[in-house]
Symmetry: C2
Subunit: 470 residues, 2 copies
């Protein structure tokens, strides 16, 4: 075999690919980046960042509904200028994309725009030329799923690839799919004044597995938009819009946002040449600890492998793949405690084990935020937190929640679970007053009450059962 | 000596006193609560709760200044109706107070309203009658300091005892004292549209000891109100208002809020009868681990002992005092990791060791939030976080900060410090994207870079140096 042209070829210049580039570049310049389509990461172009800007804008206008309750006049005059909101989203989006694009701009001929096609475990063809490398890392990301029948409706159906590009939003929209992306978009659109009908074929919301949390979220969200779960929908063109039909009911809307999942970009990579068994979706076998495909000099990192398609995991996978691509023997890396956040209000979050995965003897503590002191003061009093601990030793193992500041609660619990701390250890930390974390403490105290324990320390301080003090 | 009438007498029905009552009642009914003045805790009546309601209202109106930046019209029409805001504060305040008052309402003749006066280590006189007890717990709280010369200005000078009672606020106010309470009130008043001049005789703000954090906070706050530190002020009545003079400068305001500290309510307790050496402020010697005064059957808990005059510490002290009052031998309790929060924007917080207390070889990591991705999306991009770790082993020991969501960051770090975790351990937790906690991660990574370390794990993942990804 001819000597390799490159130490590493990276296919895909998204988050995982850039993480590989960052790590590999510490050891070698012989790295080639091949990218098809637009540069800039999914996160910055069409994912986390534009959605968060839209959400912050939507929340700002929606929060004005609370003004009268605070004794503030004029809230009813506040109105989202939706074309201006969307321009703002694109402006900030462009700013965020710029940074990610710059990451590959200085590479010169070590960066090639084109569709990569493997011709072997150490060779990639792009733009008619074959490049050989010691190691290949596949990091081609994912794209929104769009059923062909719906795609035929043309620009009446949108995805997160296109929704932020709209000049304006119509009065009525359907959101199909109520996973994290669908939920975030449905609430943001509703907050901006769009009448939203949201649908999901499953009976749950946002991937929540705990029925009590799901119920609390549903109760909170039904104020914002209408929710139809457990339904299979059909879309039909009607006038300038779309008729969404489910069973014998139907709804007329102007546009439909399709958020039924994302699909790995495996097409055209010719993974068949690797001589490993691909699954029904064309996915090769790989290790989530090493990112290696079989025992080949080929690694697969980020959303393309569909293991944990969120930014921080994609970045980790790029790090692991880069480390192992340059090593003689791959090192298995323990992965981080799982965490998911849905940026809505009340904030949905999962950490560690899910309710659906619990052993029967797991301990569960819960806290409602409908009457939590600080949440009441902020008019954010809604939602429920459920925390799970191991039956035998009260080590924290997971949580599901929809609560104000859920994203922050998730990080606190994420640290506790990551370090294997017990409920008692967490209860020894300081909880200031009045803070939303006191609600989390209430849930922990509920678990403590289920544990026989003779010792006395500050973790045993009970609740006052006085709202202003707990 | 006559047999005791009571197992425990609690003097003061505030947070510490109620915590004692909660714990003692688990073991005995022979407990007497004596309270002078208004019932309801400092927190609920004049502290945490009304201030937080005022702050939330003030923040809601101030946040409308950001609306145009989000593409939302009408923000300039929004205006605080200050009498309505103050009514809302009092309504919620009354609701919070109600709960704390109920805690003593069912006690019947085990609760006495009156000024308690010790007549020995096991005897208290109230309303002309002497009650004997096995143990006495002093939990009389504190009150705002008001220099006599300023008090002479009558209702032109306010404290947190009176400010929430106002029917309206004037156009111009001075805030004297820029500790946590003064800072919170100064910003809230300014957000509500009052022109605020704020003064402190020290040269620092909010008790921050880290000069870089103090500088960042000063930069952020100077947009909201004018800050005069390192000045001694004099107050003079002028027309219907007050002239605040400092050196050869002076400012005319309508009212002055005095927030120069709080004073323990030790007066009239006759602690001299305990035959222990009182300090210059009349404070007896006591242990912060047992709350016991000397080796007497007398304990002192909560704000009155001036050790850590904040709610969660007062509650802890009540718990400790109750436990030890009922025990044959007092148990020393390790106290919680210190934490302070100032509820302003950007949020000021301290956890663990202060900058001023650091050893010379301490490791410091910092992160600015002026360009942090999520903070930019939310238009909350301001402030600085500084995290401290022990030089020898990179165990987290403290932090000072003024950052968005500072109160949540403080709790995450509070858990880490409380459990003695290393920077590396915290860097192994999941950090979602895009969240403000990624700023905290940047500060931790700065510390990691200062540590020689050969191993590789996910804690070693570096930053992208790409705003949308870090």
């Amino acid at each position: 075999m001819a000597a390799a042209d490159w130490d590493v070829i990276i296919i895909g210049a998204g988050t995982a690919g850039l993480a590989v580039l960052r790590e590999v570049s510490k050891q070698t310049d012989k790295v080639l980046v091949i990218n098809a389509g637009a540069y800039g990461t999914t996160c910055a172009r069409v994912g986390c960042m534009p959605s968060k800007v839209l959400i912050e804008s939507a929340r700002a206008v929606h929060d004005c509904n609370k003004l009268a309750g605070f004794g503030i006049a004029g809230g009813q005059q506040v109105k989202a200028d939706i074309p201006a909101v969307l321009r703002h989203v694109r402006e900030l989006r462009d700013h965020f994309v710029e940074g990610t694009v710059q990451a590959t701009e200085g590479l010169g001929d070590r960066s090639i725009a084109g569709q990569a096609r493997l011709v072997g475990p150490q060779a990639v063809e792009v733009n008619g030329q074959v490049h050989r490398a010691e190691r290949i890392i596949i990091a081609t990301g994912s794209r929104p799923v769009m059923p062909a029948a719906w795609a035929a409706l043309g620009d009446r159906v949108l995805t997160t690839d296109t929704v932020f590009e709209q000049a304006d939003l119509p009065a009525r929209m359907a959101v199909i799919g109520l996973g994290p992306i669908g939920l975030e978009m449905a609430q943001a659109l509703a907050y901006l004044g769009v009448a939203v009908h949201a649908f999901d074929k499953s009976s749950s919301l946002g991937g929540i597995s705990d029925p009590k949390v799901e119920k609390a979220l549903r109760d909170a969200l039904e104020k914002d938009f209408s929710i139809h779960t457990g339904v299979d929908v059909e879309l039909h063109a009607q006038d300038d819009g779309v008729r969404v039909a489910a069973g014998d009911q139907s709804w007329e809307v102007d546009r439909v946002l399709v958020a039924v999942g994302r699909k790995p970009n495996l097409d055209g990579l010719n993974l068949e040449c690797l001589d490993v068994a691909l699954d029904d979706h064309g996915m090769p076998p790989f290790s989530v600890a090493t990112m290696q495909i079989g025992d080949l000099p080929v690694f697969i990192a980020g959303d393309v492998n569909h293991h944990a398609p969120i930014l921080h995991e994609a970045a980790d996978e790029g790090y692991i793949a880069a480390h192992n691509a340059l090593a003689d023997q791959p090192t298995p890396f323990p992965r981080r405690t799982p965490m998911g956040i849905v940026f809505i209000e009340p904030g949905v979050a999962f950490v560690g084990q899910r309710f659906a995965e619990l052993e029967r003897d797991a301990l569960i503590g819960e806290a409602s935020f409908t009457n939590q002191g600080r949440a009441v003061a902020a008019q954010r009093n809604a939602g429920l937190m459920r925390i799970y601990a191991r039956g035998e030793d009260a080590v924290l193992i997971g949580a599901e929640m929809c609560v104000p500041a859920g994203e922050h609660m998730a990080h606190l619990l994420g640290l506790a679970i990551s370090e294997g701390l017990t409920v008692r250890q967490v209860l020894r930390m300081p909880f200031y007053h009045p803070v939303l974390e006191e609600g989390l403490r209430s849930a922990l105290r509920q678990i403590m009450k289920q544990i026989p324990c003779d010792d006395t320390d500050l973790a045993r301080c009970g609740e006052f059962r006085i709202q202003a003090l707990d």
